[in-house]
């Protein structure tokens, strides 16, 4: 809780491998060579689809699972040899895992009780922890007498009372309804700032990850797909997987027709697209990505011929501030664009030209889109 100089290598995971044998006899690589460094005051999120190894990684850090090989260092010391109860990390479990036979006070005070903290101090710290999560005065109630959101707060209070150096949170908000979730996201973020400790947060919800994190680790099949700030991950996804997983994107495969100077021209199934040139050569296969909000719809007379794609509007959906346009290009591929709703009055079947800024295209060499971003 003190404001020390943050250390960038607070948690260091080196070449972590873990596999499981499924009941059918197959092998699942839950962690397939994970490398990761986390700073001591960072809010870092593990993001990935269900089954990608997020819980496994948390379990290994908490000590409930072992590694096949690899190393985990916390503040420079290996964690792997200590049993779970000696690790200076605490966990907020996916379904809270509150002790149903203990009241809230005893749940929150559990960590202090087993550590033998004197009664007076213990009660004071329990009250503080509950206050911190905005839930004072419920010490005498049983967990079953609280709502889901309240239970969530109790689980948080219980996990921070031991003043861990790092808090592990496994999809803590997934059971809450939408409104409450948004509120808790902010509270969690504030709590992290207040405590000044590292939060390792797990979610499969990209929106949540983008909102809360200092950095995001995108995991897929036990591998780190990308590690970066929300902005990097969103705007410069490292792979087609990240692109598809985070936000909505238009993804096209094409062949470079001509490259020279700042720009390159790429043939996407008959339609030509201009993008920035990342030392591409004619004949290279590339994947091109563009977020829907990077298209603009200009009145027909203002179109600057080269930087537009012609498409036919199929459907227009109003989503609050914007209109989402579902279009189809001349080559038959679908295209999605997000347009300010001031431009309304569009009808299905109407021909549109969608403009773009050539530098907005994210170019990934190779048709499959797997590879590092340029």
């Amino acid at each position: 809780m003190s404001a020390q100089q943050p250390s960038p290598d607070f948690l260091k995971i080196k070449k972590a491998y873990r596999h499981f044998v499924t009941p059918e006899g197959g092998t699942v690589r839950a962690l397939d060579g994970i490398d990761l460094s986390v700073a001591s005051n960072e809010f870092i999120t593990l993001l990935g689809p269900s089954g990608c190894g997020k819980t496994t990684l948390l379990n290994i850090i908490a000590g409930f699972e072992r590694l096949d090989r690899g190393e985990i260092l916390l503040a420079g010391a290996s964690l792997l040899e200590s049993p779970p109860h000696r690790r200076p990390v605490n966990t907020v479990f996916q379904s809270y895992a509150l002790f149903p036979h203990l009241n809230i006070g005893d749940n929150v005070g559990y960590g202090l009780d087993v550590a033998g903290v004197a009664k007076k101090e213990r009660n004071q710290r329990v009250a503080e922890a509950l206050e911190m999560v905005g839930l004072s005065g419920v010490e005498k109630r049983k967990p079953s007498q609280l709502s889901g959101g309240q239970q969530q707060r109790v689980a948080l209070a219980r996990a921070i009372i031991n003043r861990p150096k790092m808090l592990l949170l496994d999809e803590p908000l997934s059971a809450l309804d939408r409104n409450l979730r948004g509120k808790m996201q902010i509270e969690l973020k504030n709590l992290q700032a207040e405590l000044g400790i590292c939060f390792l947060f797990v979610t499969h919800d990209q929106e949540e990850a983008l909102t809360m994190s200092d950095r995001i680790v995108v995991l897929n099949q036990g591998k780190v797909e990308q590690l970066g700030t929300p902005d990097e991950v969103y705007h410069r996804p490292a792979s087609r997987f990240v692109t598809e997983f985070i936000g909505e994107s238009n993804i096209f495969s094409g062949t470079v027709v001509e490259s020279g100077g700042q720009l390159a021209r790429v043939n996407v199934g008959g339609t030509e697209v201009v993008c920035s040139n990342h030392s591409l050569r004619a004949g290279d296969e590339v994947s091109l990505l563009l977020r829907p909000e990077h298209f603009q719809l200009k009145p027909a007379d203002q179109v600057n011929g080269t930087n537009g794609i012609s498409a036919v509007l199929e459907q227009s959906v109003f989503i609050g501030r914007d209109h989402q346009l579902h279009c189809r290009m001349a080559n038959g591929q679908p295209l999605s664009a997000l347009i300010r709703s001031s431009l309304s009055g569009l009808k299905p079947g109407q021909a549109l030209t969608l403009e773009y800024d050539p530098t907005a295209w994210h170019v990934i060499p190779g048709a499959s889109g797997v590879g590092t971003a340029q």
């Binding site: 087993v114 550590a115 079953s144 996990a159």
Partner: protein, 295 residues
């Protein structure tokens, strides 16, 4: 109006078939026994309809006025039966508790198989199963044959007709009664709670003491009651495997109804046993009512 309808409801409830059934087949015999326990024994069994005050005093040791001197022999028997029942409870618990954890961690098809195995004895007669134990425990039985052929012992062990044999038999008979409730509470225990406890800094032992044990306690208590009560009345095992060298309260009741032809005293002993059991059960019920979360 309100109280009237609720009264009507109560009346209906009283007349419901379940209540009638319970009244006739449960309270009826109990009442007969309670009445008999205050009557004079008939010379050839049955009862004389005279109030007789000796029966309860006799349980506590007072002489009943004919051929008798003060002797607490009946209390001794009651305590001995309770002692055997208690040992049975403790040994079955010591066996079932870890085994329940072990089985609950198995894959589901092995789980079902093991539970089936444990429940299997329910499908055959207790007497036949105890005869099987005689074949195992006697001097020329399988246990001694195996131990001797392994060279562990040179003379057969005196297993049959011993206290050990009685405890083996009792434990064997009552294991399913303990296992099933204990297992269900263990199976319902969320492994996440154990993780949470360790995560918060509790050693495995503290985790057991503060989480695992209290969470499985309702199952343990049900198991203990389910074993203790029938074990208290069991006399077949001490008779068959222990050679009837000690009397159990169950023998004593049987003896009163048959050999001694003293029905009122048999009824008295049964009443005392029932009260004793009620005490045991009410301790549990009071606990459960105080702590509705548990059960």
């Amino acid at each position: 109006m309100r109280s009237f309808t609720s009264q009507q409801k109560q009346l209906l409830l009283l007349l419901s078939p379940a209540t009638l059934f319970l009244g006739i087949f449960f309270l009826g015999p109990l009442l007969i026994m309670a009445v008999y326990s205050f009557l004079e024994p008939g010379l050839y069994g049955g009862v004389e309809w005279n109030f007789y005050h000796w029966n309860y005093g006799r349980v506590l040791g007072w002489a009943d006025g004919f051929y008798e001197e003060f002797d607490i022999v009946y209390l001794q028997i009651l305590l001995r039966s309770a002692g055997l029942a208690l040992v049975t409870v403790l040994v079955t618990l010591a066996f079932c508790y870890p085994v329940a954890f072990w089985i609950s961690r198995m894959q589901s098809r092995w789980k079902s198989f093991c539970i089936f195995l444990i429940a299997l004895p329910f499908f055959s007669s207790m007497i036949i199963r105890l005869y099987a134990w005689i074949l195992i425990l006697r001097d020329s039985g399988f246990a001694n044959q195996i131990l001797m052929s392994l060279g562990i012992i040179s003379e057969p062990l005196d297993l049959m007709y011993s206290g050990t044999a009685v405890i083996i038999g009792m434990v064997y008979i009552f294991i399913p009664f303990m296992f099933l409730p204990v297992y269900s509470s263990v199976e319902n225990l969320d492994p996440k709670l154990i993780k949470a406890s360790q995560d918060l800094g509790a050693t495995p032992f503290t985790t057991f003491r503060r989480v695992i044990f209290p969470m499985t306690l309702p199952g343990v208590v049900s198991g203990c009651i389910l074993v203790f009560i029938p074990a208290l009345g069991n006399f077949v095992v001490p008779a068959m495997l222990g050679g009837a060298k000690v009397v159990m309260i169950g023998n004593l009741v049987e003896q009163q109804f048959l050999a001694a032809r003293n029905w009122p005293f048999g009824a008295t002993l049964s009443m005392v046993m029932i009260v004793f059991m009620l005490l045991v059960v009410s301790v549990y019920l009071i606990r459960a009512m105080k702590n509705p979360q548990h059960s």
